[in-house]
């Protein structure tokens, strides 16, 4: 029994990591007042950028260096996703386009790019067939060598690739920056009321751009984790599924606090797979269980809006473009 629970917790954490990256990135973005619905697309781009980087490195013929095997996909994923977030920022901040529409277009584009290159990268540049980057995957999956010897605790909590721990570190750092630094204070001011922030001498445009791009980059790492660590270096079209939307749901569940989203991501990861661990479920009731993360999010959203606690509300200017000369 305890073994099953330990496996369940471990699997929940594994499922939670991409969600944690996505939601941390989206929280940073939303704190600047940008509701980026392009996160699912950005996470696809993060995944595919890392695949492209690793593919060219593995097929370049040089002796593979494990450090580079990790760093190249990592940087590709981060900068690829940042580039997507930059498109979003340019359209919504500089050109003041509608955020919902831009985000949805970004998702269409990102998923398209991901599935296109994932499906035809090797037929475009190589000998064809499906891509498998097992060696890169192995580098990402590398765990602490002594983790398995530490008993149940080691098996459950210490046996992940480094990206899982990085996601928690990033969430903690983001939480600290948002709540305990001047930059964080300014960023929150921009998201709550850009006009006031502007009057106080904060460069609203710069904050919005930086927050959205950095947030996008972090979210893209979720795609990287999914492809390189979880799958182990292969691309399946549409394999990432609806995790991007789930990450946005997690933002609400965590009440826009990265610290909460660490536990939230494990909970969501657990809800995502709980149907596999409840014995005796028929196929139909499994489908009902898969509904849980979304239902839980709706319930949280409703309770939050009914209680109207000031600190639990979304950033006040979320979803609105800021134009100094307006009104």
């Amino acid at each position: 029994m305890i073994d099953i629970i330990a496996t369940f917790v471990k699997q929940a954490i594994i499922q939670g990591v991409p969600l944690l990256y996505g939601s941390t990135g989206e929280i940073i973005t939303e704190k600047s007042g940008n509701l980026n619905l392009g996160i699912p697309g950005i996470m696809y781009i993060g995944g595919i950028s890392s695949v492209i980087g690793a593919y060219f490195y593995e097929s370049s013929g040089v002796e593979l260096n494990p450090v580079l095997c990790v760093l190249i996909p990592l940087f590709c994923a981060f900068f690829g996703s940042m580039l997507m977030a930059l498109i979003y920022s340019f359209l919504t901040i500089t050109l003041r386009a509608n955020q919902n529409v831009t985000g949805l277009a970004l998702t269409t584009f990102g998923v398209g790019v991901g599935n296109f290159f994932g499906g035809s990268l090797s037929s475009l540049f190589g000998e064809g067939g499906s891509i498998s980057l097992i060696r890169t995957g192995e580098c990402f999956k590398a765990t602490l060598p002594f983790a398995d010897k530490l008993g149940l605790f080691g098996k459950t909590f210490l046996s992940f690739g480094f990206l899982a721990y990085l996601s928690i570190i990033i969430a903690l750092v983001a939480s600290w920056v948002l709540n305990h630094t001047r930059v964080g204070l300014n960023l929150r001011a921009v998201g709550e009321n850009p006009a006031t922030a502007d009057a106080a001498g904060i460069n609203v445009t710069r904050y919005k751009y930086l927050a959205t791009c950095i947030g996008g980059g972090i979210a893209g790492l979720g795609g990287l984790y999914f492809i390189m660590d979880y799958i182990g270096g292969a691309w399946t079209n549409g394999g990432f599924g609806d995790r991007g939307w789930l990450a946005i749901a997690l933002v609400i569940f965590a009440l826009w606090k990265p610290k909460h989203s660490i536990l939230g991501s494990i909970l969501f990861g657990g809800l995502y797979i709980v149907y596999l661990y409840i014995p005796g479920l028929s196929r139909s009731s499994q489908e009902i269980f898969k509904m849980l993360p979304y239902v839980v999010t709706i319930v949280v959203l409703v309770i939050m809006s009914i209680r109207k606690r000031h600190e639990n509300q979304p950033p006040a200017s979320l979803g609105l473009s800021y134009f100094r000369e307006e009104r």
């Binding site: 509701l35 619905l37 498109i87 340019f90 359209l91 500089t94 050109l95 003041r96 386009a97 509608n98 919902n100 529409v101 831009t102 949805l104 277009a105 970004l106 998702t107 269409t108 584009f109 990102g110 998923v111 398209g112 790019v113 991901g114 599935n115 296109f116 499906g119 035809s120 475009l124 079209n237 609806d242 939307w245 946005i248 749901a249 609400i252 028929s282 196929r283 139909s284 489908e287 009902i288 898969k290 509904m291 979304y294 239902v295 999010t297 709706i298 959203l301 409703v302 809006s305 009914i306 109207k308 979304p314 979803g319 134009f323 000369e325 307006e326």
Partner: protein, 374 residues
């Protein structure tokens, strides 16, 4: 010196809000954006495939209009996209960011499929069709009304609420698929009533899709009139422009929100009805296939004008069908269409800026000042 320089620092680019741009001019800007986007897409195509982009575009054209069957298929897809776009428009005009059309249509599909499966072969058609229609309209309306009620009463964020409802609807469909699957174990419903054709919308003049297209055409005109000339259309516009104004002139905002979303969801239900009874005759979680999201862009691109939406949904359908066609012809992956659609959307979204705002460069003003100083 440097201090003096700073004093004379002036923004190089000044952005100001434009008054209403002349109608033809704004369309010229949009057209220019589409042309620019197509040129960029051509570069992308050459970069990826090395084919002549003109050939690619011409094969897109023949893929969409090559034969009578293809034309009908294109028209049918346009009609469905247009129908869902019409559905989301009143909500959007009210600034209610309903991104749950996908789920609302799907739940309409579910209701229609249920009626077809349970009553399709026992009820006479004269009774069956109204039952199917009403069931799907009610299902869509309820699905849209749930977030609307919470928004009206407690101000619950509707964007996120409706988004989540999409996935609840999808899981609900997968749940029912496990009961209805045919053949057993296939995890798909198969063609419903394939022998008796119970609950299949009739063919008009031998054309399978004509009835759907006619229904959507009527809906388009009705929606145009509703938004432009009815009192309710006026009310929802005022609520969208300014809730304070609406309250001041005595509009019951809660009532307007719930009523508008009922209409929005009901039309989504109709779309679901036509998708299952009119074209697919089956149901899966992918029946709507992302049209609920594309519709939002159509509605927004057309500035909520139902007549313009016809063009916008045609453009997007043409793109996705055409790109799908070249993907098959050039043995590329079908996702090319998403990439091209994405690029074109970025350009159209971006060009709105140049319609709404005026950009003035200040090279001359600056040099002029210098002269004065000297």
């Amino acid at each position: 010196m440097s201090k003096e320089k700073k004093q004379h620092h002036e923004q190089l680019v000044r952005i100001s809000k434009r008054d209403q741009m002349v109608f033809w001019k704004s369309w010229l800007v949009r057209l220019a954006a589409i042309v620019l986007a197509l040129i960029l897409c051509a570069f992308v195509i050459v970069l990826i495939t090395g084919y002549n982009p003109l050939e690619v575009y011409s094969s897109m054209w023949s893929g969409t209009f090559g034969s009578a069957r293809k034309v009908w298929l294109t028209l049918q897809k346009t009609a469905m996209l247009l129908c869902i776009s019409l559905a989301v428009t009143p909500a959007y005009k009210m600034r209610f960011w309903n991104i749950g059309a996908e789920g609302q249509v799907l739940i309409g599909c579910l209701a229609t499929a249920a009626c077809m499966i349970y009553f399709g072969e026992s009820m006479p058609p004269a009774l069956l069709f109204p039952v199917m229609f009403l069931a799907s309209v009610a299902a869509g309306a309820i699905w849209a009304m749930i977030p609307a009620v919470f928004r009206a009463k407690w101000g619950t964020n509707e964007t996120l609420f409706t988004l989540m409802m999409n996935y609840v609807a999808m899981q609900l469909v997968s749940y029912f698929i496990t009961f209805w699957e045919n053949p057993a174990g296939s995890n798909s419903v198969g063609i419903i009533n394939s022998m008796s054709k119970g609950g299949w919308l009739p063919e008009l003049f031998g054309q399978k899709y004509l009835l759907n297209i006619l229904i959507v055409a009527v809906l388009t005109v009705l929606m145009f009139i509703y938004l432009k000339y009815s009192k309710q259309g006026y009310e929802l516009t005022v609520v969208g422009e300014s809730e304070n104004t609406a309250r001041y002139i005595g509009i019951n905002i809660k009532k307007v929100i719930i009523r508008t979303l009922l209409i929005s969801g009901a039309i989504c239900g109709i779309a679901g009805f036509m998708l299952v009874a009119g074209t697919d005759h089956t149901i899966s979680t992918n029946t709507v296939g992302g049209m609920g999201f594309t519709a939002i862009m159509v509605s927004w691109l057309a500035k909520f004008n139902p007549i313009v939406m016809t063009l916008a949904s045609f453009l997007l359908t043409f793109l996705s069908r055409g790109a799908g066609e070249i993907a098959t012809a050039l043995r590329l992956n079908q996702s090319v269409s998403d990439i091209l659609t994405g690029i074109i959307l970025f350009f159209i979204i971006g060009c709105e800026f140049f319609i709404n705002y005026k950009v003035t460069f200040h090279f001359r003003a600056r040099s002029h000042k210098k002269e004065v100083r000297e």
